[in-house]
Point group: C2
Chain length 429, copies 2
């Protein structure tokens, strides 16, 4: 954000380039716009109390009162101060509506104009009312790419005009968790986009801790492929493949062939496992799995997955079982698939507890992991996409424009019928 | 075992030193003992068929029959061929009774004369009938030290007279699991002593895969301290401390201050954690815990352990929660104690499943491990005992002779009343 500084009785704003400023005062909106040059000195247009979000400035007012405080926001603005966004209004209710355009609130923020976004299974969970901390009026979405519109004064890695990938995880880079690479538990961030603050299913989004939460998109890179790197690819990779410690020669079972399970399938192949067995009740998804590298598929609505895995592994079980559904039955299934000394890597978002069969597993030398994606591997994944080791576009099945987002939701909500995996939603202009 | 070799019509046994040989023939026992020197050549005392356990040797017999096979065992022996042992006779039933002395069955076996043994909580589980694969007639016990009495022909690391520590885990060193250091799952071994084969609560025990399942006791070492290294110290260390990845500065909670929990307490201190919180309902054990290095103790029969741990950790939880009890309640407690990014290391032997609160933990970046001790760290622990970094004798509270073993069991079964931790049972002579 541009910080105004007091200079005699005036306010000084330093800007690196000419820009429009819009000044709003709570209680009475000023219709005032002018282009300013670097270090322009300007007077308050009318007598009043001027404050920034961070700095409360008190001055004498002309109407007879002596001192008055009023909240004033000063921020960069383009032609319009409103935008369109997908807004949650309680369980089952969402609208594509007009919302105020976000502005810089902290020096470490950036505002990004969204060029492409997508919908996540988690957005559907929110719409079902499963994520109660999401409140009425929240703009959804935590994935996307775009162009930096504005940066706060402390942002140094990015400047307006930069082409960026937005991470679903915002991280300050300074707290104890960030220093351990556990960005998902950042004390001032984590998964907040489209959750605790407004998200990316909009024309603009404010990204806190921009220096640590955005990534430069290499020139000539495919934007659509990179939208997959905001969330699902690091999720499948970090929570499934890395936590599961997939090694060359391993036999891996992935329970759930939705987008995140498929992301685990794609990224598991970095480590040359001998076998990847995909388990899902949807034949279409199993067919996709085969195309994407699965060596075996099991439809667990028609086959007994435990018996089949025993058969495929000479009764030993799998080295790594990746749970990518999020219900007790699939987590419990993994406990019967895993070999002694193996790993169960949970990727699914769970709403209920599951039975842990310690009577079988206590002596089985297994490791179970849980994780909210940290997106620490985003730079690594960007390189794998650029070097064609990872073709993340294979997960995209449908395209929509932002103004068609309600239709995009409809398609994604009926994924089986529509044969949908990931949908790409592009800015209209 | 000393392997006789054919030499003309005689049998040659090479022995590194003079020893007594006892020769038994199935069907008719020979009362024949003599001292032989290295490479003594000896004739069969009477006409008959001579075989070793592995080598069937056929010769002409003098009584008119032409060819005859008889099983003959040749082995080292002392005065008697029977011994006393603690024998399981079904749930709740054990006796101190006469049993045949064990002999070499495979070339990789050793027979060890027990000098000291002990009782494990697992032996009590067996006596309750919780371990159904233990059958009537089984000699119990999987811990002890002793003197090698006899070795099979392929044993190269040990010779008769060697002073050895017996590992509770027998390992062939050759199978896939052994090659990965997962001795507990050895395809021909694992925890078999006092479980699937006769154990150490006896005057003699046969140890399969002797080269990999016994450890030389350094000269001058304290036998009692080393009995603790057969099982409980590697168990607390490997399943609790190593699997829990205890690091300098960590806060560790150990749920259960029995012998294995205390073994975890002792060995956790190798890694300089900042705090070790012991949780147990027995005040005596908590007092012992304080002496052994706990920085905090919580009696969870009188205090809310979750609230107290929150208080002690500034609401964060512990980096490592070690479960050393083996019931659902204590395993579930650990789930509420562990911090984001932390470890739950299961040490307890469980008979039932427990609820895993994935609805809380899925995004908590935690790791849960299970393990049957592999005893891969026995050489490391031997060095820590010798260098006085580990005082394992602190776990010993009671002493008995082998002939008092029923009394020792009685004391161990009433551990709280008797304030018993580990009991040492010494050979009578």
């Amino acid at each position: 954000m541009l910080q105004p500084k007091k200079f005699k009785n005036s306010w000084c704003i330093k800007s690196p380039k000419p820009l429009f400023l819009k000044i709003k005062c709570t209680g009475f909106h000023l219709k005032w716009e002018r282009q300013i040059s670097p270090a322009t000195l300007f007077q308050p247009l009318r007598a009043g109390t001027w404050i920034t979000r961070k700095l409360i400035i008190i001055s004498r007012v002309p109407n007879g009162h002596h001192l008055k405080k009023r909240e004033t926001r000063i921020g960069c603005a383009s032609k319009s101060i409103s935008m369109k966004a997908l807004v949650y209004h309680g369980p089952g209710k969402k609208t594509w509506e007009e919302k105020p355009r976000p502005s810089i609130q902290k020096a470490s923020d950036a505002v990004v104009r969204i060029t492409k976004t997508t919908i996540c299974g988690t957005d559907l969970h929110i719409l079902k009312g499963d994520v109660p901390e999401v409140t009425d009026g929240r703009i959804l979405g935590h994935e996307g790419v775009g162009i930096i519109e504005e940066t706060g004064s402390s942002v140094t890695n990015f400047k307006p005009g930069d082409h960026v990938l937005i991470s679903c995880i915002s991280s300050c880079g300074k707290c104890d968790f960030c220093k351990r690479g556990m960005y998902s538990h950042c004390e001032q961030g984590g998964w907040i986009l489209g959750h605790l603050i407004d998200g990316t299913q909009a024309e603009y989004v404010r990204i806190p801790h921009a220096d640590n939460s955005l990534y430069h998109i290499p020139e000539g890179a495919d934007e659509e492929a990179l939208v997959m790197l905001s969330d699902i690819l690091p999720t499948g990779f970090e929570c499934g493949v890395l936590n599961g410690q997939v090694k060359p020669g391993d036999t891996v079972a992935i329970v759930g062939a939705g987008p995140v399970g498929l992301a685990a399938l794609l990224t598991a192949q970095f480590y040359a496992p001998a076998e990847i067995i995909m388990i899902d009740p949807d034949d279409n998804r199993l067919t996709v799995s085969k195309k994407l590298g699965a060596t075996q598929t099991i439809n667990n609505s028609t086959q007994n997955a435990i018996d089949r895995v025993k058969e495929l592994t000479g009764n030993k079980g799998v080295d790594v079982a990746i749970e990518a559904v999020g219900i007790p039955a699939t987590f419990e299934l993994c406990q019967y698939l895993v070999a002694a000394g193996g790993h169960i890597a949970n990727v699914g978002v769970h709403g209920k507890s599951a039975a842990l069969h310690l009577e079988l597993l206590w002596a089985h030398n297994i490791t179970i992991t849980t994780r909210l994606v940290d997106t620490v591997t985003t730079p690594m994944l960007l390189k794998t996409v650029q070097s064609k080791k990872l073709n993340s576009k294979q997960l995209i099945t449908h395209h929509f424009s932002l103004s068609e987002i309600m239709k995009a939701y409809d398609t994604f909500e009926h994924a089986a019928k529509e044969r949908a995996l990931k949908v790409i939603i592009s800015a209209d202009r």
